[in-house]
Symmetry: C2
Subunit: 463 residues, 2 copies
Amino acid sequence: MTKKRIFLNAFDMHCAGHQSPGVWTHPEDQSDRFNDLSYWTDLAKMLEAGGFDGIFFADVLGTYDVYNGSREAAVTNGVQVPVNDPLLAISAMAHVTEHLGFGVTYSVTYEHPYILARRLSTLDHLTNGRIGWNIVTSYLDSAAVNLGFSGQLHHDQRYEIAEEYLEVCYKLWEGSWEEDAVVKDKKSKVYTDHSKVHNIRHEGKHFTVPGPHLCEPSPQRTPVLYQAGASPRGRQFASKHAECVFTAGPTIEIVKDYVKDLRSRVSTQGRNEEDVRVFGILTPIVGKTEDEAQAKYETIRKHVSYEGSLALLSGWTGIDLSQYSPDESLKHVTSNAMQSAVDIFTKADPNRTWTLRELAYHVGVGGRGPVIVGTPQQVADEMERWVNEADVDGFNIPYTMAPGSFQDFTELVVPELRKRGLLPPQDARYETYRENLFGEGKTRLPSSHPSHTWKELKRRTVT
Amino acid sequence: MTKKRIFLNAFDMHCAGHQSPGVWTHPEDQSDRFNDLSYWTDLAKMLEAGGFDGIFFADVLGTYDVYNGSREAAVTNGVQVPVNDPLLAISAMAHVTEHLGFGVTYSVTYEHPYILARRLSTLDHLTNGRIGWNIVTSYLDSAAVNLGFSGQLHHDQRYEIAEEYLEVCYKLWEGSWEEDAVVKDKKSKVYTDHSKVHNIRHEGKHFTVPGPHLCEPSPQRTPVLYQAGASPRGRQFASKHAECVFTAGPTIEIVKDYVKDLRSRVSTQGRNEEDVRVFGILTPIVGKTEDEAQAKYETIRKHVSYEGSLALLSGWTGIDLSQYSPDESLKHVTSNAMQSAVDIFTKADPNRTWTLRELAYHVGVGGRGPVIVGTPQQVADEMERWVNEADVDGFNIPYTMAPGSFQDFTELVVPELRKRGLLPPQDARYETYRENLFGEGKTRLPSSHPSHTWKELKRRTVT
């Protein structure tokens, strides 16, 4: 059997303790150095040398203030606040690496597509084609109110805007400049053949953008498109647009169903299944021996902030978890959102009684998905099982401690995965992010992708 | 006499031939490599080693389409199109340097202050306090229409919005987080003292921003503030807010009057004159001998694009210059904007008959201001004269060819300026941009700056 190659992104954010509230207090954790550029350049070098395909940045534009109706717990424990803009360290990280991809979360709700399109084209140029864009439609309420909205837009309305937003971007990225528009012929003194630069003449419900795009075609033109739609509408959106889908489910059973549904939707869209990579999530706490791994886990768990975890969980679910007592079983919680959050973890281990405390500590060790405590072999076994049974193509790997978790992973797990033929050798890397995900020569979106409609812009518009 | 120290910014843009249309065709010009990150990191290293204080990035968000009512001339000649986002290469340039400052042009008209404030705080952190912001209120009509406006806002309305925009930024940068809010005490497990993080509760005419800011205080908090207001309203704005004022006048007489007026306005605002640096513009074409310099000038002039220059000039003045014949004297042009543009150059050399062609070629060799063709001594003489007579503190130095012009300047002119005591020695540099401009320890805005009103935010708001 030819084994599937596993794709690996480090999962990170420009804040301390991304998904492990409180663990910044661990003596070895350095994630609070996120304001320091050398922290990011060192990390980029380590990830590239260590076999990662990319680094995937989450982002929020607000604070977690659902718990206790206040941001106090989040601020006190440094839970995703303070938080910096994820785009700005990328050129430095690209400068010290050659192949590492950069997936960045950016919302379509709060920035104009004409500006974001230029921003991502610029980065795709500067990184020589290593940019991915995680399309999100919303952030926290606390973000929306700071940007002039009274609260978040309705879910379906956000996706409606996102559809039009992408249409504008596709037109700018794929249609506005023909491939050979830029000539730079010093003899004929022609920089650009102006007849090959087209207005996009977009006039939609939400945006009016005559064009043209301001940047010439970048190596990938459209960045690698990530999406993480979970709702039916979100899955529909992802199956139409996304090249990489990120799903943070905690059990193989749950993720397997999701992936099956998603791949079927992709086919229905007329796209090839192999043009979409699905990334699960898996938090490894790895040691050379089981005892070493378990000891690491215990120490990390001691540094988890209970309140910080609840601040995070309350923000995710929209439920103020301060109303529940720590040791109460969560089986009979009535709120839909909370029940579904509990259900997910309950299913992960049906024999365990989930209390609020247990849930908080599980989340606190990076456990938005499964937490695998064990030897390199055990972690590799589990990853292999997820790939084979849940049909994921790879993982976003969160850290519990940074950069230590990533260092452990590159030093201990990557060699094991290579030995099993699940990761390519270090020198089998291409230049662009899309090629590293889909294969040599596949720098641009395939023709079955909806963006291709706008390749023909020149024939449909008068410039 | 203690001579004034001269401040130096390289004047650049993320496009080819920033202010020298057509000169990208010169065999030695490399400015068309602007998509390539190593072009920017090499330039940053050269500028820092060569004695520059900073690099100042212009920007536009549209194309120059006034000339002939079309963007054809601009696109064909690569006149500031294609053009990338200036913020994104900065972290890489900061990674390879230690002291070089980065001034970036960003408009207050098209991006939300809550987002821009985070973006600039992030950069100030990552560069260790080396960010400046050139506040502009508008771009071209061709930009406005792509961002959902039917055209540019009225001049005074733009400044009204800018005033409120800055108020929001000051509140976020200076008032939201107290200096010692971030504790990061691993023992007490307190990341941030939440009682020292304040909502800004801004409710204005154009923006509603409850806050708090998302980033902790960066080295400079507020980036070094640049502005280039020329109109009475613009000067008023600059005298109130700007720490560095950029004026692109072509003669000492014109700039002298401007600087005198500006400094008087600064005093009226209750600010200290020495808290504002004025940057003129001066394009040096330098050779070891006069003949060498003159030969360089002649060669560069041959590569200027006449139509490209007119595209640029038409965009700046808003007048379609295709209506004038190339060799007609411009003395009797009736349009106000054009007459004032011509007047400016006429005053620069009253014995010269300015035709459209001559004006185009003057602009084409980087001549938005004076063009000094000569030896290092002659260029230094002229700079000294500007400082003494026009009372400027420094210059934004455009290139005619990049990076060659900057290399000539650092190799030939900088040593001459140092010999005269007009530039500090290479090792007399501080860490932050503001200290390099205003002196050791002056990392933050002085207390006479209007932003200081918002330092007291905590006493005025309930968090």
